[in-house]
């Protein structure tokens, strides 16, 4: 794949029109007001039939599971061309939304990608039907709770949240922070450790429980103030003696005897998260370049448009190089899907590392081209620069990506 196909361009144009009509007029409220992103995201889903497509795919998978068929990989249906279109149909809305509101993508991705994804990969058929369908269609908002005040990059090692077994029940305790959609989530996947006598805290089994809003002992905080991604509500979760049955343990009884203690399956979730970051970075970079070109043509200093100065041209050229690289990474992601392949963990990490750095560099240079105006909220580059920074932190910091890449290289 070397360019967007005709139908992919049509998807892009249609989504861009929706964003011009529905998102752009509300950016101020989303970014600087208290408007949560969910109703606009639901409208995006219903307008383009994304909810119906997700429901149909889900029903098909569930029916196959009930017939006892091996669950097929999600990319196995259709010919390579239609699989490419399917992948592009997922990535294009991410790119387009990130041109305006990367926070909306975070809110959407955590709900339909991470939360529903975790339930789909680890849950029983019954659990999938109970929680995943409504998350996949955005009818319900989901949160995926792993990070804690004392554990970020060392997610599992430092994790203190616990599940104590009492007969057929579990008693859950702990606190989580930086949880995307935390304040609004209807469904939360809570990741914790099984209390095991005589087993070191670092080695305990990892379990995933599904919580509903309003359960006794489960408290969801309001939104935290943060540097960027204002359109994505982030909060804290507090659990104090929350009693749940085996029906809320993802995977049920079998999860208690799973090898690897649940750590491997979370890695699959990290991988999905990482490959979405290239599309996010492409959206941010594309818009920053577009805005910078416009400004470079129009802004006159010393009686010439600033685009005529080589120092500005250097910035624009570097932005275009980053845009081309990111687009190629997105194309590679689509191409792999078309052929039913996935990236290695190290490759996804490398892609995430480059994408996050490119987005931050380009967005900060866009602020520089805009000068004083760029530092003002009125000019969009300021928001995009604040938003871009998170890409180097969440879904694994740059440093964690580097470690994953180096570990893979040195093992070969």
């Amino acid at each position: 794949m070397h360019e967007w196909s005709e139908s992919q361009q049509m998807i892009r144009d249609a989504v861009r029109r929706f964003i011009d009509d529905e998102v752009a007029p509300q950016v101020e409220e989303l970014e600087h007001g208290d408007l949560p992103p969910y109703d606009i995201l639901r409208k995006l889903y219903s307008t383009f039939g994304m909810d119906e497509m997700a429901r149909a795919r889900f029903r098909k998978q569930i029916e196959a599971e009930k017939r006892g068929e091996e669950t097929k990989k999600k990319s196995s249906g259709g010919d390579p061309e239609s699989r490419a279109d399917q992948a592009a149909a997922t990535l294009i809305p991410i790119i387009e939304l990130c041109r305006y509101c990367p926070g909306m993508v975070t809110a959407m991705g955590v709900s339909v990608g991470l939360t529903a994804g975790a339930i789909l990969s680890k849950g029983t058929t019954e659990q999938k039907e109970r929680w995943a369908e409504k998350l996949l269609t955005l009818e319900h908002v989901g949160a995926w709770a792993i990070t804690e005040p004392g554990s970020g990059s060392d997610a599992f090692g430092g994790m203190r949240s616990s599940a104590r077994r009492e007969g057929d029940e579990f008693v859950l305790n702990g606190s989580k922070t930086f949880i995307t959609n935390g304040p609004h989530a209807d469904t939360t996947v809570f990741i914790c450790k099984l209390e095991e006598e005589g087993v070191d805290l670092r080695d305990r089994k990892i379990l995933n429980f599904v919580l509903d809003r309003g359960m006794p002992g489960f408290e969801q905080s309001g939104a935290l103030r943060k540097m960027g991604l204002h359109s994505s509500p982030t909060g804290e979760l507090f659990l104090s003696d929350v009693r749940v049955g085996m029906d809320r343990l993802l995977g049920g009884e079998a999860a208690l005897s799973r090898a690897g203690g649940g750590r491997e399956s979370a890695k699959g979730t990290f991988q999905t998260e990482r490959s979405g970051v290239a599309a996010m970075a492409l959206g941010i970079v594309d818009r920053c370049l577009e805005l910078s070109l416009k400004y470079a043509r129009e802004r006159v200093q010393f009686e010439r448009p600033i685009g005529e100065y080589q120092l500005i041209q250097d910035k624009l050229a570097r932005m275009e190089v980053a845009r081309m690289n990111l687009q190629n990474l997105v194309f590679r992601t689509i191409e792999l899907s078309a052929h039913g392949k996935t990236m290695t963990f190290a490759e996804a990490s490398a892609m995430k590392l480059y994408s996050a750095r490119a987005a931050v560099e380009v967005a900060m240079e866009a602020v520089q081209i805009y000068g004083g105006n760029g530092y003002m909220s009125e000019y969009v580059v300021e928001q995009l620069a604040r938003d871009a920074k998170v890409l180097q932190i969440y879904a694994g910091t740059d440093e964690i990506q580097i470690r994953a890449i180096a570990k893979d290289l040195l093992a070969a």
């Binding site: 139908s7 249609a14 307008t47 994304m50 149909a89």
Partner: protein, 260 residues
Amino acid sequence: MKILVCLKQVPHQDARLDIDAAGTWIKEDNIKFEINSYDTYALEEALRIKDAGEAEVVVTSIGPDRVTQALRTALGMGADRAVHVKDAEIDGSDALGVAKVLAAVAKEESPDLVLMGLMSDDSNASAVGPMIAELMGVPNASSVMKVELADGKVTCERELEGGALEVVELQTPCVLAVQSGLNQVRYASLKGIMAAKKKPIDVKGAGDIGLSGQVGAGAAKTTIDKIYPPPKGEGAELIEGSTGEVVEKLVGKIKELGLL
């Protein structure tokens, strides 16, 4: 019921327009195109009729390869098939030439309704709709704001000057040129866009529709002599000063001219 929707592909509203070397049109290389906004309302109206009952919606457009994208977009929104009239011989046609081509397509298709926008965003002539009706020998209504179908008749509300509406009844087949804003135009769904690839686009030349030698620049009765940006006017007075001073001077000026 069969509905033929005529679409024109026009430069995108955000495209940078530069005048070509001959000074008679704009440079078309490297600009983005889209479906004429008026025509999107016509397409939406056709799709609503289809949604409400049994109807086949056929879209047609004239132009080079790039026009395929406009037709695919319409197919993605829900049209059933497309006719693309592509022939260098048609280049340079005036409104009558375009109307001849579309009327020829309509004659082959024999639709109950021919729908299109009132005018195009680029040339604003509003001529093609009535011309097609005349060439087909069927009734026409322009500036249509509402369409109702019943028993082989179409009842339309037409927009008149001063906000008045006129209700007219037409026998089918007929040609309706619709005003913008008569409905809310849908977005093509992702599934619709993906399915559009499999819908047929029939490509025809001038000869295929019996118009060889009758259309194009040679047959045009109207030609564009020149296009140019309007010259800067004179007599504008710039009021300068602080906001308070500007307001005071402006109010004084309005009073001086007797406008208040």
